[in-house]
């Protein structure tokens, strides 16, 4: 466990210094209090590793003994705070009702005043002594433990495990001792490791002010005060005690970072891969970009070929896309269909430079003749919004909660507009996407709108740049079923009316079947079949496409028939290379042959299996599955045997 090794390293200064303090009588070379005025203020030497102070006392011994003082007081404070806090917090949560309300109130009260000032007051009133110091620091110290323990026990009380225990008739005392106390103590103990630093700093701070521990008992803060006159002359007096306090506090803080927000920081580090953000132009990625499009018509607005994307994930570098081709023409709706992780989103976000900076995008992608991959950010920025606009999956996540609908749509306007002119155009757009009260909605915040309304807002923002290509990434999967078809119809109508090309991404073939002109089926980062929607639904060739269609439940059919699910396999996630670059789907495939596991399997026109093009198989229908092609060929010769 590398995480644990790191934890031990981080805790090393804390543990070493605590141990040194604990063993001070045996470890310290000399007595911390024996003075020798003839040997005062000696710099570090073989006899005194850290020199001597103004009274000739050995500095190293004093620092070790000071550790003993500090760590003893700290330990006492923490034991008191921990025991009182965990008990009170756990009791409050366990008993509930009035007790819990009182506990919560007192805890919040204690946490709402600065602890060191209260400690000062307590010491000023009750006088200077070690027990008073411990009391002064515990007065407030327990509250944080109580809050943590209360939270943990509250969570446990709501769990089925707790209900089961009560149901089994376990004795309350047993429940408290065996289940409630450990539940409360565990997170409190984690907090304690980070609290050590705070307590040590406070103890040292108070003795620095001449409170708490009195001379001649050595303490770090107090040693510092005594070193004040020698700031210029004897660095060995003021440097080591400060370093000792800092080491303990730093160790404790690092443990806190490690236990608290460590995953956050690990993710952060992942982003600093060398050359991470560089998007390089394709270096001979297999397929020829000049290959003619699969279907005839006007020039494509967006044409992508040989697109390959590598992503950094916590599990390492993963190829999310292994070379994908697609193209969309004005007025056309192209659907990208596949399960999550198949590379649908990556294949549209990659060319636009909208993936994480660490993503490596190669291949070719041109928008109206402008090459996107490897293009400077400024070029991409001009294409985004005004050329290619995106509607996102989760309209709540894609809208900044702190900004009004109007400001979001207005910033997307191309050409840019301000003031009343912008407001008018935004209202027109809101009306165009079917929002009933544009003049109200324009000043509303996302949380005031329903999911369907939010998605309409995002569509309005996408239209604001007058794009020619509209990408909709799962635009309906976070919406109610009733709203889904409205949004899909809206997208299709807008596409037709404005002569836009629409790329619709979905995991659900049934959803896109009504809207899309053409469907590209993706699996594990590759395109496995592409065909006009009608042809794909009526004669799916690839076993994966077939499975997708079979997985759609049909009303009226008895349960258990014609509702097939795919077997799970090792190859479910994207990027797992099959053996020798063969078919990614082989692990789940019913048609698998030996040849499927060797060599790359590109998309091939289905008509090639039968040059006459009968039976609805045309050049526009392509599939990456040789066994399926063979079957299709057979089926066309024996139509009666089909399926």
């Amino acid at each position: 466990m590398r995480g644990n090794v790191r934890l031990v390293v981080l805790a090393l200064p804390l543990v070493t210094i605590s141990l040194a303090g604990l063993l001070a009588p045996w470890v310290a070379p000399q007595s911390p209090t024996s003075t020798d005025l003839s040997a005062s203020l000696l710099p570090p030497s073989g006899g005194h590793w850290l020199g001597t102070d103004q009274l000739g006392r050995d500095q190293l011994s004093r620092i070790i003994w000071a550790a003993r003082t500090s760590m003893t007081v700290t330990a006492a404070v923490m034991v008191v705070s921990f025991v009182v806090g965990v008990t009170v917090g756990a009791l409050g949560a366990y008993l509930g009702g009035v007790v819990d309300r009182v506990v919560t109130w007192v805890v919040e009260l204690a946490l709402s005043v600065p602890s060191m000032l209260l400690a000062l007051a307590v010491l000023g009133i009750r006088g200077n002594s070690a027990p008073n110091l411990i009391l002064a620091l515990s007065v407030v110290g327990w509250a944080a433990y109580a809050r943590i323990a209360r939270g943990a026990v509250l969570g446990y009380r709501g769990s089925p495990a707790a209900d089961a225990l009560v149901g089994l008739g376990a004795h309350p005392i047993r429940i408290v001792a065996v289940h409630v106390v450990p539940t409360a103590a565990r997170p409190a103990a984690v907090f304690a490791s980070t609290d050590v630093g705070v307590v040590v700093l406070t103890v040292a701070g108070l003795s620095f002010l001449g409170l708490g521990i009195s001379p001649p008992t050595p303490e770090w803060g107090q040693m510092l005060v005594e070193s004040r006159p020698y700031l210029d002359s004897a660095w060995w007096l003021w440097l080591p005690p400060g370093l000792a306090v800092t080491a303990v506090a730093l160790s404790s803080n690092l443990i806190g970072e490690h236990l608290g927000i460590a995953p956050e920081l690990r993710r952060w580090r992942l982003r600093r891969m060398p050359d991470a953000s560089r998007r390089t132009v394709a270096r001979g990625v297999g397929r020829d970009a000049e290959q003619p499009g699969p279907s005839a018509g006007p020039e494509p607005l967006l044409r992508v070929s040989g697109l390959r994307v590598d992503l950094d994930t916590p599990a390492g570098r993963v190829t999310a896309l292994h070379g994908v081709d697609y193209a969309v023409r004005p007025g056309e709706v192209l659907a990208l269909v596949g399960e999550s992780g198949s590379g649908k989103t990556v294949s549209v976000m990659g060319p636009l430079g909208l993936l994480d900076a660490s993503a490596r995008v190669t291949g070719r992608a041109s928008y109206q003749g402008t090459e996107l991959i490897g293009a400077p950010e400024e070029t991409l920025r001009q294409v985004r919004g005004a050329g290619v606009a995106v509607v996102f999956q989760d309209p709540y996540a894609a809208l900044n909660p702190l900004r009004t609908v109007g400001s979001v749509v207005a910033e997307a306007l191309r050409p840019p507009a301000r003031g009343d002119a912008a407001r008018e155009r935004v209202k027109e757009l809101l009306e165009a996407v079917g929002l009933p009260r544009p003049d109200v909605t324009i000043d509303q915040y996302p949380h005031e709108l329903s999911g369907g309304m939010r998605q309409r807002v995002l569509i309005a923002a996408a239209l604001a740049g007058e794009p020619t290509v509209l990408i909709a990434d799962e635009p309906t999967s976070s919406l109610d079923v009733t709203v889904q078809s409205e949004i899909l119809d809206l997208l299709r109508d807008l596409g037709r009316r404005r002569d836009m090309a629409v790329v619709l991404i979905s995991h659900d073939l049934a959803v896109v079947a009504d809207v899309a002109d053409r469907v590209l089926v993706m699996y594990a980062g590759r395109a496995v079949e592409e065909a006009p929607t009608g042809a794909l639904i009526s004669s799916p060739l690839h076993p994966y496409t077939r499975a997708l269609i079979d997985a759609v439940p049909v009303v009226g059919r008895p349960t258990g028939t014609r509702f097939a699910t795919l077997p799970e396999s090792d190859h479910v996630s994207a990027g797992r290379e099959p053996v020798d670059g063969g078919c990614s789907f082989a692990g789940r495939c019913v048609l698998r042959e030996e040849t499927c596991l060797t060599g790359a399997i590109p998309l091939s026109p289905a008509a090639a299996a039968h040059p006459d093009g009968v039976g609805g198989l045309t050049g526009a229908h392509q599939v990456a599955c040789p066994p399926a092609l063979v079957r299709a060929h057979h089926r066309q010769h024996e139509p009666e045997a089909a399926r």
């Binding site: 709402s112 600065p114 000032l117 700093l201 002010l209 927000i261 600093r272 702190l402 910033e411 005031e448």
Partner: protein
């Protein structure tokens, strides 16, 4: 437009703050009265002067109402305090309120300067760490922040005095001789708060930069700075306000140490002197002043946060 709900929320804030202050001062007051040495007897003895007879002491006890119940005595203290009378300092014999009045502006000046520094350094380093992301800079900033949080204020004061005053003779060690003498106290007080603020800002901003609304804004083709500044930053700042308030609150604690080290004649140093002298009236007044300042700060930020986030604001029916 008068917003009834917002007004009620504000009233609630004020009420709970008053209750906290009452409990806190009553607790301190009771502790003073039940602790031998700091209680009635010694106060009466000191007031009566050396060699006073038992009767004289009893009379003074009675005059000062020290023989009444704690609640009654607290009631007397509270009514006087509300009129601005916090009693007399046992140390100087002067009215405590006057002493605080003299010293408070200096502490406020120290606190405001450091707060500004802490905010600028904390947010600056945090934003840079989150936006840069690559290269050694974020790691360096993170390490500096953690060390800044871990170094005790009093020791850092010594280090900077040793370097800038004793060794380089650049800055004066104490006094209030103009801006040059403010640099070290402001900086030393600000550094721990800046460290924590920068960590929280860095973490919450890099979190915000990963949100989909940032990608969505980029997809709209807006200027390169816009998603960071208009979308990620406001969300990140909202999440850091609470911690920021608490950190600015710790400046109060720090001022006690910094004022003592740098000979800054403010309430912090005065409070330490009162504690050392065991001047219970002054200690009680000090607790009151610091608690008021702390609560004012945190509650204000609470209100600001509520006002700044539309999700926490009242949704008007239109």
């Amino acid at each position: 437009m008068v917003d009834g709900r917002r007004q009620r929320a504000l009233t609630g804030h004020v009420l709970s703050a008053v209750v906290v202050l009452l409990v806190l001062t009553f607790g301190t007051f009771s502790l003073i009265r039940v602790t031998p040495g700091s209680t009635a007897a010694s106060i009466a003895v000191r007031q009566a002067g050396p060699g006073a007879s038992q009767e004289q002491i009893e009379r003074i006890r009675h005059e000062l109402k020290l023989d009444e119940s704690v609640v009654t005595q607290y009631g007397v203290w509270l009514t006087r305090a509300l009129r601005g009378d916090l009693g007399r300092s046992e140390r100087s014999g002067r009215p405590i309120a006057a002493e605080i009045g003299e010293k408070l502006p200096r502490t406020v000046f120290l606190g405001l300067g450091s707060a500004l520094l802490a905010l600028v350094m904390g947010f600056g380093a945090g934003i840079v760490a989150a936006v840069v992301r690559r290269g050694p800079l974020p790691g360096v900033l993170r390490a500096v922040a953690l060390v800044g949080v871990s170094v005790p204020t009093f020791w850092m004061s010594f280090v900077v005095i040793a370097v800038f005053s004793e060794r380089l003779s650049l800055l004066p060690t104490s006094g209030q001789s103009g801006p040059v003498s403010w640099i070290m106290p402001w900086l030393v007080l600000a550094i721990p708060a800046a460290g924590t603020i920068s960590r929280v800002v860095a973490v919450s901003l890099s979190e915000a930069l990963r949100q989909q609304y940032v990608t969505a804004a980029r997809a709209r083709g807006v200027a390169a700075w816009s998603p960071t500044v208009r979308d990620a930053l406001p969300n990140a700042v909202g999440a850091t306000l609470n911690v920021t308030a608490l950190q600015l609150g710790t400046l109060l604690t720090g001022s006690v140490v910094v004022e003592t080290v740098f000979g800054w004649p403010g309430v912090g140093a005065w409070f330490v002197d009162s504690v050392t002298f065991r001047d219970s009236g002054a200690i009680l007044a000090g607790v009151l002043v610091f608690a008021v300042a702390f609560i004012l700060l945190t509650r204000t930020i609470d209100v600001v946060q509520t006002a700044a986030d539309p999700r926490l604001r009242r949704t008007e029916v239109r």
